[in-house]
């Protein structure tokens, strides 16, 4: 609720801030966020108004009206009649443009190779695929990539899991991998990318790669050489460059996972890529619990049992899953 002592103008400005921040325009992110920080810090009323608007924004998602509208919107289109007027015009002009463009496309295909493919590995499975440029990608358990290769650009979207990339060098062609908010660019080398729940980790085996936040300019990129590793979080903040043990760098391909002070949520996220019986953190407060561990995925339950000795957690097996609760009974019974 809006407190009467906060002016309507401040509330309206807070609302405008929220709609700008959730617009999802990466070009504006940095400047916008800096401006927002200044506005929030300028007055306690600003903060108060924004917190109220944000609470409203979050709560909207739990209304029946919102869920019903979401379902209505995702119904498969049955025809052009369902399109709004502007979109219908776009469809008509698009159809005309498409037919005119066919000749150009046919001519263009003659000189370019296009590959758009989707590859995925199953839970617990690893799989190697060779792309049309000769590069090899080894997918770790439960991993998934979308590949787009044309004459100049090679772009891989890692949408889940870990992958080892062995890139064929092509002087005029950048090989780019996108994972969460990280963008990794190389010419020819081998490196691994782990897409975590929110973060990404890049480890280089040979050659040199450039790591950057999606939408950031290349001047902010971090160069990594052989034996180096870096994390990039959801805010595109780059961590410190760390060393990797070359002997252990590919352990995940054989089912050994290593974490050094990582959030429990990231450990469980990776573990579940190897398991049919999923593990869930039932108390979100535990998600950021820092864990250092090294284990074989087929011995994960022994590892989790070990964690109950050293961390304030307990385990509960459900019908088809394993839940992690906070150790104190009251903590487990409160809401997330």
């Amino acid at each position: 609720m809006i407190k009467p002592d906060i002016s309507a103008d401040v509330t309206r400005t807070a609302t405008q801030w929220l709609t700008r921040l959730y617009a999802g325009d990466p070009d504006e992110d940095e400047a916008l966020q800096e401006e927002f920080k200044q506005w929030i810090e300028a007055s306690s009323d600003h903060r108060q108004a924004f917190l109220k608007v944000r609470a409203l924004w979050e709560d909207i998602g739990m209304t029946d009206a919102a869920a019903a509208t979401a379902l209505r919107l995702v119904q498969p289109e049955t025809g052009r009649a369902n399109l709004p007027p502007q979109a219908r015009w776009r469809w008509i002009t698009g159809a005309v443009a498409a037919s005119l463009g066919c000749l150009a496309i046919l001519l263009w295909i003659g000189t370019h190779t296009i590959e758009t493919r989707h590859y995925a590995s199953k839970v617990g499975e690893t799989r190697t695929v060779t792309l049309s440029d000769g590069s090899k990608v080894t997918l770790g358990a439960g991993a998934e990539i979308y590949v787009k290769i044309d004459g100049r650009n090679r772009t891989i979207d890692l949408t889940r899991g870990r992958a080892l990339f062995e890139v064929t060098r092509q002087p005029d062609s950048i090989f780019k991998v996108v994972s969460n908010r990280a963008e990794i660019s190389v010419l020819g080398t081998s490196f691994t990318v782990r897409r975590g729940k929110h973060s990404s980790t890049v480890s280089v085996l040979h050659g040199q790669v450039s790591v950057n936040g999606v939408g950031q300019d290349s001047g902010q990129a971090q160069l990594l050489g052989p034996g180096e590793r870096i994390d990039l979080d959801a805010l595109t903040n780059l961590g410190e460059v760390a060393s990797i043990d070359a002997n252990q760098a590919l352990d995940w391909l054989t089912g050994r996972l290593v974490f050094d002070g990582s959030p429990l949520a990231e450990v469980i996220h990776d573990l579940n890529l190897y398991r049919e019986t999923k593990v869930f953190i039932a108390d979100p407060a535990l998600e950021q619990l820092r864990v250092t561990t090294s284990f074989r995925v087929d011995q994960a339950e022994q590892m989790l049992e070990g964690l109950t000795m050293s961390h304030p957690i307990r385990l509960r097996r459900m019908e088809d899953s394993l839940l992690i609760f906070a150790a104190e009974p009251q903590a487990a019974n409160r809401l997330p």
């Binding site: 609720m1 809006i2 009467p4 509330t11 609302t15 709609t19 959730y22 617009a23 999802g24 325009d25 920080k37 929030i40 810090e41 903060r47 917190l51 608007v53 944000r54 409203l56 924004w57 709560d59 909207i60 998602g61 739990m62 209304t63 029946d64 009206a65 919102a66 869920a67 509208t69 379902l71 919107l73 995702v74 399109l83 709004p84 502007q86 979109a87 219908r88 015009w89 776009r90 949408t159 889940r160 969460n180 929110h198 959801a234 805010l235 595109t236 869930f280 953190i281 039932a282 979100p284 407060a285 049992e305 097996r317 459900m318 019908e319 088809d320 899953s321 019974n333 809401l335 997330p336």
Partner: protein, 187 residues
Amino acid sequence: MTPQPIKSSRERFLTELFNNFHDELVLRLQRVYGQGPPDPEDIAQSAFAQMAAMGSHEHIKNPKAFLFKVALNNGRRSAGHVAATRAFLDEVLELEGERTEKISPEHLYESRERLKLLNDAMERLTEKQQEILVRSRLLGETYHEIAAQTGWSIATISRQLTSALTELERAEASALQKPVKRRYRQG
């Protein structure tokens, strides 16, 4: 590890719900997200886990609808720009010691009346406002994606979203004032 036996009626309730509704929930989520990302299976599982973590489920009138809404909210949080914005806001607001962890849809069980009021206000919005609000808030679409889906301009989307939120704020504010007026008249 020695699994603990399922004892309480709460756990039996959850197990039955999981067994009876899991597949249906995943199917519903596949209608929204296809094969992902986010993976419908993952967000369905998270929704069950969050429900399991609640002490009591008596306040939830329709557990299936509740699970679906929790799963939709989980799915939307995983959208890249939404996760980044949430993380940024948490960081900025926590810098001054504000408590933001209560800002989650799941705390709503404490305020069912507020949710009902919000739902009524949502239904009074225009179809256009509802669509923009839901595409942005629940489906995690960027304004550019909404523009591509609907043909509306970015400026229109931004304006309509601000108007919709302002309407919902007004509905809440007027509800807050009503009991005060009633007491005044009675007194």
